[in-house]
């Protein structure tokens, strides 16, 4: 009995100290983490919709039963040239947050995965950038100390590049290369499906919400 009380007390002290410590670290880092995420969102917005000069305020809509967000995209003259949709779905082992740029013609301009913690080497390959040169070219360049010119623009991950120019009807996952569908990553079908679903669900439900809002009032949301 005495031993149990002793053990319980030790565990209580350890858990308590860890809890207090984590609370402190969380309080210190919370704002910084939010700021870093905001920066990543702003950079992602510009990267996938290069034609847009500025973006509107964040507005909410519902997709897949959850709150999603959209931002109107404006060109330099102030005309609305499309929307960016921010939607999160469950992947294989983590929530996947996808930003989709939707053009005025209903085609996808580009997508960017803003957050995911899928299996490294399998699901996480949705963020993998294709090689731009061979190992030997890189070594030769390093030996000659040639300036690296290929690193100028941030490259689009190969999986995400497939979405550009597609319509909602083409958003289904297949296992062979196809111009009319999304090719799954080998060994990561669930993650590939999840990203595709995030884009499809966001566009479908955003269009539906816009149509519903347009009917009575005659204006876009």
């Amino acid at each position: 009995m005495k031993a149990i009380v002793h053990y319980g007390a030790v565990l209580l002290v350890f858990s308590g100290l860890a809890g207090v410590g984590l609370h402190g670290v969380n309080a210190l880092t919370k704002d910084k983490i939010a700021a870093a995420q905001q920066r990543a969102l702003t950079e992602g917005q510009r990267q996938i919709f290069p034609a847009a000069a500025r973006f509107g305020e964040r507005c909410a809509f519902t997709a897949g039963g959850k709150t999603a967000y959209y931002f109107a995209a404006y060109d330099a003259s102030g005309a609305c040239i499309g929307y960016e949709l921010l939607h999160t779905v469950q992947g294989y082992q983590s929530p996947i947050t996808v930003l989709t740029a939707l053009g005025a013609d209903g085609r996808i301009v580009g997508i960017k995965v803003l957050g995911q913690a899928e299996t490294p080497g399998l699901g996480a390959e949705i963020d993998a950038v294709p090689a731009t040169k061979t190992l030997w070219q890189a070594l030769a360049g390093w030996v000659r100390r040639a300036p690296d010119v290929t690193e100028s623009a941030p490259a689009v991950p190969a999986f995400q590049a497939q979405f550009a120019g597609k319509t909602v009807a083409q958003l289904h996952v297949v296992k062979q290369p196809s111009a009319e569908a999304i090719e799954a990553i080998a060994g990561a079908t669930i993650t590939s499906e999840a990203v595709t679903k995030a884009v499809r669900e966001a566009i479908t439900e955003f269009e539906a919400a816009r149509a519903a809002a347009a009917t009575p009032q005659g204006s876009a949301p």
Binding site: L11, S15, T29, A124, T134, Q137, G187
Partner: protein, 196 residues
């Protein structure tokens, strides 16, 4: 630094390599070794958490009753991992994006608990610090070896750069069976060297 202290670091590199000899941490060794870059991210994160957890556990070993040492060690490890995760996300978002995935996996890495139990609980904080650095480095070495084989054969790449232009890689090597094959061959080679 005396010879024995140097030994405390270097024993983990090869002679008592945590993966290839002690067969610890096999789960992350199989999961993250699809590319050398991933292996390095996991290895460095592990060195950091393992060293800190070894030191803390060596410091608290006197006040923890042995019957409940495992839950206490796990609280320490989980606490450290969460701190590292939050601090990286707040102050180094780029590094966090690259290796943040691995940080969370460290909680369940049995190398950390294995070294806590087998070494830090019986040795001084200073020796435990050296053991943590050495064992972490050994884990990094083993991961990079497995990953180099898998990335070249399975993706025809090294550090994300193409190795043999035009060659179609054997994609089973980046999937789970390739991990088991590579690890099996490396364990076999290591044991062959031991007998010779």
């Amino acid at each position: 630094m005396s010879i024995s202290y140097v030994k405390e670091i270097t024993k983990g590199f090869w002679e008592k390599n945590p993966v290839l000899v002690l067969a610890l941490g096999l789960c992350p060794s199989l999961a993250v070794t699809t590319s050398v870059r991933n292996a390095i991210g996991m290895g460095i994160s592990t060195i950091f958490v393992l060293t800190l957890s070894n030191v803390i556990i060596a410091l608290i070993k006197g006040i923890v009753p042995s019957q409940i040492r495992i839950p206490c060690y796990i609280i320490v490890i989980a606490f450290l991992v969460t701190v590292v995760d939050l601090v990286l996300a707040a102050y180094f978002p780029d590094i966090s994006k690259a290796i943040g995935l691995f940080i969370k996996l460290i909680v369940v890495n049995c190398i950390i608990l294995g070294r806590a139990e087998a070494f830090a609980a019986k040795n001084t904080p200073w020796r435990s610090l050296l053991d943590g650095i050495g064992m972490g480095a050994g884990f990094l070495i083993a991961l990079v070896m497995i990953a180099a084989v898998r990335e070249v054969l399975g993706a025809n790449k090294l550090f994300g750069l193409t190795v043999v232009p035009g060659w179609r890689p054997v994609s089973i090597m980046v999937l789970a069976p390739g991990a088991f094959l590579t690890l099996g061959f490396l364990l076999g080679l290591k044991n062959m060297g031991k007998r010779a």
